[in-house]
Every structure is written in structure tokens, then in C-alpha cells.
Symmetry: C2
Subunit: 319 residues, 2 copies
Amino acid sequence: MYIPSFEDMLAARERVKPYVHRTPVLTSEFINELTGADLFFKCENFQKAGVFKVRGACNAVFGLSDDMLEKGVATHSSGNHALSLSYAAGRRGIPCYVVMPRTAPQAKKDAVRGYGGIITECEPSTSSREAVFAKVQAETGAEFVHPYNDPRVIAGQGTCSAELIEQVENLDIVIAPIGGGGMISGTCLTLSNLAPEIKIIAAEPEQADDAARSFKAGYIIADDAPVTVADGLKVPLKDLTWHFVSKHVTDILTASESEIIDAMKLIWKRMKIVMEPSSAVPLAIILKNRDIFAGKRVGIIITGGNVDLDSLPWNGDIK
Amino acid sequence: MYIPSFEDMLAARERVKPYVHRTPVLTSEFINELTGADLFFKCENFQKAGVFKVRGACNAVFGLSDDMLEKGVATHSSGNHALSLSYAAGRRGIPCYVVMPRTAPQAKKDAVRGYGGIITECEPSTSSREAVFAKVQAETGAEFVHPYNDPRVIAGQGTCSAELIEQVENLDIVIAPIGGGGMISGTCLTLSNLAPEIKIIAAEPEQADDAARSFKAGYIIADDAPVTVADGLKVPLKDLTWHFVSKHVTDILTASESEIIDAMKLIWKRMKIVMEPSSAVPLAIILKNRDIFAGKRVGIIITGGNVDLDSLPWNGDIK
């Protein structure tokens, strides 16, 4: 297990700079009054491909050695990582192979293809996915880029909080959603070096609270297919992300489904931005834990904005 | 009829500066490729109260003479102007009286009250509205601020394009939605003085095309209660806005309901911003008139972001 270093993050920053946005930080007087805190929303929903994951994907793709370029990269995510890796590969002009269940929504397949990804379909089961992915990798020789448990990806995600602390001074806390832990690990990598006084809080859905339970237990607990509206946060921690979470995170707090949906709607309504349910978990937690956040300067990572506009959670399609 | 002067706009700029945002200008590579134009979206959806109208309202309220302060201001809008005037009055600490139909959605009443507006309800008819408004004005002595046919309001709206041309150089065209013509008139006032080479195009729903027909006919045509998803654009031109429209606008173009909804969804999906159907009319027109816009640098006024998240037009609730 190679643990990415602070130097890896610095190198990532230079490497990805031409391909990612320095996203804006927004504020809302209304939400500040509601929470009693000074909140700074780092808007990765405005990022290329609509999600922070393009940082890690670009770092992996633009760090590839020349002899790997023809073979390209591969992954088996069906969500934001597939989009991000396809975008990054497209910018470098190399192939990106994506294994996706044939049952994945057409819109997701179209989006991956829109960024130039080459899709191979599998059956919607872990065994089929693994078998098909192994075959694709054997045939193409492409480099596997894991969605989060990869030092190149974590170093890339760390560039987000490096920007944030340049944009906002004297933060007391940074809070970000946690699924597999890629964003949180990158945040730990950067802040533990550049601003160790800032507390790092991870935000997780109550219904997919494996990271919170892992944090309390002191070892990784992985749930099987948790159900939550925050669909980017269903995956478990892995060894590399556990390293950062267990070492640098102050706490992992949770919010219920209705708290997440209410917070999401509040952000859309008051801040006029489109963002994913996963990105609303931090505000949901701030709203219910006034004792922790009131009076503090808090950075919130709005991780992404790729949401299905035809099926918004407050319309009752998801529970 | 007092026609606001360029000096009135300059005075408005200084007057409203402490109370309104200098809103950002966003771009989208994807939408640029789609249209073949360079589009610059001036995001008044991020404005105070979520709408450009706060500029005109603040200019009217902060321009009031001291002897009017106790009496306050009044209007009979039930939409964005009521919100904006309530916000402005609240900032100056004076009363704002709003006459609204008792059938107006509770959310709109709550929003006006949230900004400090004092609501008097009327029956949902023009005669009741006028009678109730006359009574409120007689009792309070408050100053009537018309939503658009008011020189103070037009001078205030003109501050938006003054910012835009500082933020983006060498625009060929500015396009904005037209309802009563307040924003377009302010745009004419500013650009005819500061950048007369920029063409001004007004964007109107096909189903509420009274301004386009007025423009062709050479005199004001007012429709009775047109039906369109772009609910901010149903009102007719009046003498003061007609003055600017007839004198400075290059053309008024229209888009169908489905074109407006498609353009709105495209902006939400790709730019990750929440904006009103009215604000999508310009992009709908750019998409269908490639011959006019391709190769041009085009400023688009995204007029506001106050949309009912429970009833989005692509969910089929509105036709």
C-alpha cells in the first residue's frame, strides 16, 4: 500500500491545473443566520464533468507513463468516477474503458459516451462485473483507476481543499461527505500538512453509516448495498482511505434521509445551485448539531451536481 | 412621463451598490459548442431576493425623500417585484405594503412576509385589486412603486448591463427576456449610452408575444392573461418601457413553450444553476436562430431564480 504524500498532492496540483476549474466558494446570509455559523460552500458541482472526482481522475490519467498511453485506462464505476475518468482520458486523447451494468440508466451511459468513454456492459451482479472487467483489462491492457482507493486519486482530490484554504482564511472546520472516503482522504492529506488546526468532519447518511461505525469500532465495517438518496455514498472504506480517516478525521456524523432532502432543497432554493443529495449531507448535519458548528467558520465541500432532474427526491420518487 | 436619463442610471449605481450583489458571469463550453456562439450568462438568479428586480426596487426605495420614509412604499405585484420591494424597504427600515390576491400561493405570501412585507389580501380580480390598493394607499400614504413602468425602476435595472459590459469585453449582442420591459428598458438606457454598437435583442414566449407584435405594429398591443410557463413575462408594455423598446431594441424574437422548457433544463443540467423559466427564453431563441448568433459574443441576462421546486415544468405540471 503506497500512501500518497504531501508532495504527491503538490505535484497533482500542477498536473491537473490546465484541466480542472478552480471552483468558486459561495455563501448565503440566510443559511448563516439559520445555523449561526459562517459557512463557505466550495462548489465542485461547477467542476468539469460536474463533480470533484475529475481532480483525481485527471491526476491519474496525466500521470500515466508514455508506454501506457496507447492502452489507456479502465474502471467499473457506473457513476461520477466513470464520467470523470472518461473526461480526463478524452483530454489526454487516450482510450477509457468503462464496465457498466446493462441495467444502468440510459442517461448515464449517454453521459459516459458523451465524454468519449467506451462502455462494455455486464450483468447487474458483482460476479459478472468482476468477470467482464477482468476480460476487458486482459484484452486492452488498460490501467485500472479505482474510484477512491488509489494514491493518485487521493492526491488529486486533495487539491480541492488546497484551493479552499486559499480562498477562505481562518477556517475552524471543513466538512465533506464520506462514501468510499476519497474526498475525505484527500482533505486529510492536504489539511494535515497545510492547516493541521482545522478540524475535519465527515458527513454520512444514517442509512449508510458504515464509515461512522468503522470509525467508532476502529476497523473497517462494510455494508452490503445500503439504501440512501445520497447515492454517491453507498460504497465502503478501503485500506488506503481508512488510513487517512482513522488518522486525521475528528468525527463522522450522520443525518437521516429526510434531513438530507430538506437540506438539499434549502440549498437549491436559497443558493440557486443544482447539487446532488450526497452534497447536502454536510448541511443536514450542521443544521442538527448547532452546538458543534455555531460561531465557527466552516468550509463545506459541495461534491457534485450530477442529479437526475426528472426524479428529484422531494417529488417522492425515492425514499 | 419622465424618461430616466443616463445620469439617473449612474446615480442608481452608486445608490444601490451597498444593497445588491455584483452578480457573476458564467460560461459553458458545452452550450457554446452547441450554439456556435460565445455566451456569457449574467446570473441575476444569484441576486439578492433571487431576482434582478431588487436593483430597481432599491433605487426607488433609497431614493425616497426623508418625508416619505415613515409612510413607506406600496405595490400590488404578487411576484418578484413584491419580494424585491419588501427586501429594499426592509434594508431601509421603512414599511412596504403589498396587495396580493388571497388565492396567491402560500409560499409567495410567506416569502414576502419573510422579507418584511405587509400583505393586504384582495379578491383575484383586477377591480378588487385596484379598489383594495387604492384604499391601502389612501390609508398609509405610501409611495407606489410600479414593477416596471417607473423611471426609478428602469434606471435601477440599467445597472445590470453596466456591470455586464465591465465583466465581459466586446459583446456583439445582449439578449434579455421581455415582459413589461423593465429589464430591457434599463439595458437600452445603459447600452445606448455606454456601448451603442451592441445590439439589444428581446426574448419573448410565443404564447405571450404582445411585445413582439407591438414592435412590428409600431404601437403597444396588450394581451389579456396570456398563458405561458414563463410566468414573469405575461404583463404588457407601458408607455415608458415602450419608449425604450421602440427606440433602441434591434429585434424581439420568440420561442415556444417546449423550446423554453428544453433550454431551461439544458441550463440546469449543464451549468448547475437554478433559474426561472422566463430566464430560459433567450437561450431557447439562440438555439433556434443560429444564423443570428453563431460566431457572436452574446451576453444573456439570467433574470431570476425564484422557481417552485415542487412544480418544475418538465414534470408536466404546467403546460
